[in-house]
Structures are given as C-alpha cells and as structure tokens.
Symmetry: C2
Subunit: 111 residues, 2 copies
DNA sequence: CCATAATTTGCCTTATTTGCCAAATATGAC
DNA sequence: GTCATATTTGGCAAATAAGGCAAATTATGG
C-alpha cells in the first residue's frame, strides 16, 4: 500500500481506537449531556481515578473531548459532536446483527 | 456502573474495535467502492493472505461487511453504509486537531 | 509555609491484538 | 480420483493496551 495512504488510515485508526473502549464510550455519552469533572466520572464508573484520568487523556489527545480547569478540578466536555451520529449508526448495526443471529438460531433445526 | 449499561457499551466497543485498525479501514473504504475477493485485497495491501482473511473475518463478525462465495473465491462487500458518514466525521476531527496542534507549535515562542 | 483535595504520571503485571508460517479446508478442472 | 488455486484456521512470538497502586503535581484555604 502507498505510504501516504498508509498514514491516512493509521491516523483514522488512532482516532477510532480512542473510542474503542466501553468506559470511554460511556464517558463520551455522559459528556455529551453536560461537562463533568474527573471525580464525578470516577464516582459514576467506579474504577480507580487514575484509570479514568487515563481514559480522559486518551480521548483528549484524540481531539474528541476538551478540558477546562476550574480551581482544583478539571472539567471535560465533548468537542466532536459528530461522534454521536456514529453511535446511532453503531446501535443500528448492533440491532440488525442481533436480529440476523436470532434468525440463524431459530432456523437451526432444518437440515 | 449498572450491568445493563455496561453490556450496552461493551457491545458498542466490540463493534468499534472492529474498525480500529488501519488495514481494516482501508478494506472498508475499498469495499464501499465495489465488492472484492480476498486475493484482490491481499494484492492491494501486500500482507499475507491469512492476515487479510483474519481482518475480513473480524469485520464480518461485527456485521460491517458480508461475504458471498463465487466458485473458489470469496467476495466481500460493505454492509453498513453508515460507517462512511462516520469516516467523514473522523476526517474532520483529524484536520481540526492538526490545525490546533500547528497553532500550538507556532505560538510556542511566547512565555 | 502547611495541609488537603483533585488530578496526573510512572511503574508494573496481566490481558489482548497482531501478523506470520504452516497446516487444513473447499472448490473447480482434468 | 489427483492437482492447482483460493481461503480459512491454529499456533506462536512480538507488540500494544488496560488497570491498579503509589508517588508526583497542582491549586486552594488556612
């Protein structure tokens, strides 16, 4: 593959990888509603605060969320709203895929 | 976090993970143009055919692409067109992010 | 300056992903 | 049947990602 093309897809993959984790997806959904600090997200999710902080850092370096310091707290908010459209696409895919798998299971009796 | 919510985000993450690889993103883009067999994709990408086959299998089990056997060959095509909208969103994010980073680099002289 | 709270960073261990090779499987031609 | 071609599968080593803990950092209030 051409090296410029390679870089293009590497950059895309980097960004998508930032979304490819359940906790980070939850965070994006929450920050779509309203901005939240690390401690609030930590409370909601229940992992170690350092873990949440690292997830936030991954999302931030990908440019998906942004942060703002308020006193001793850091508030994060969603920056790229267009990911929310993608989530709808993802939900559709999941549902259609489940439907198909159900059909396969149901029809498994026939030879 | 609630266990139902957890499952929801795990499923989303599974699907997104299937997209989170440069080769697989290239494949999706190619299959969006027209259906291709494993050997054609292998030729274009240059990795081992078994590697390409595994990438295709990951995309297929996620429900993103589908396959059809023609003689001894297997043709794959894109199933979920909506991922293409997302790629536009991704491209926008990447460009805006690069612009910002350029600003930071340019303005680094000031204290 | 000291104490406290919020956040980030570094280190470490474990789990997952990747990609190649070789072997197995499937299909069609002869 | 055998042979050649296309594809998938299994196994394994290297690379990458995840998450917890402790230490470092930052800002605030006395």
């Amino acid at each position: 593959m051409d090296s410029k093309l390679k870089i293009k897809y590497q950059m895309r993959a980097e960004l998508i990888k930032a979304l490819a984790h359940p906790t980070r997806l939850f965070i994006v959904d929450e920050l779509a509603k309203e901005s939240k600090c690390v401690c609030e997200l930590t409370e909601m999710i229940g992992d170690d605060m350092s873990t949440i902080s690292k997830h936030l850092s991954i999302l931030k370096s990908a440019g998906i969320i942004e942060s703002e310091k308020r006193g001793t707290q850091v508030y994060y908010k969603l920056k790229m709203q267009c990911v929310l459209n993608f989530f709808m696409c993802v939900e559709t895919m999941i549902q259609e895929h489940l439907k198909e798998q159900m059909k396969i299971i149901e029809g498994k009796g026939k030879s």
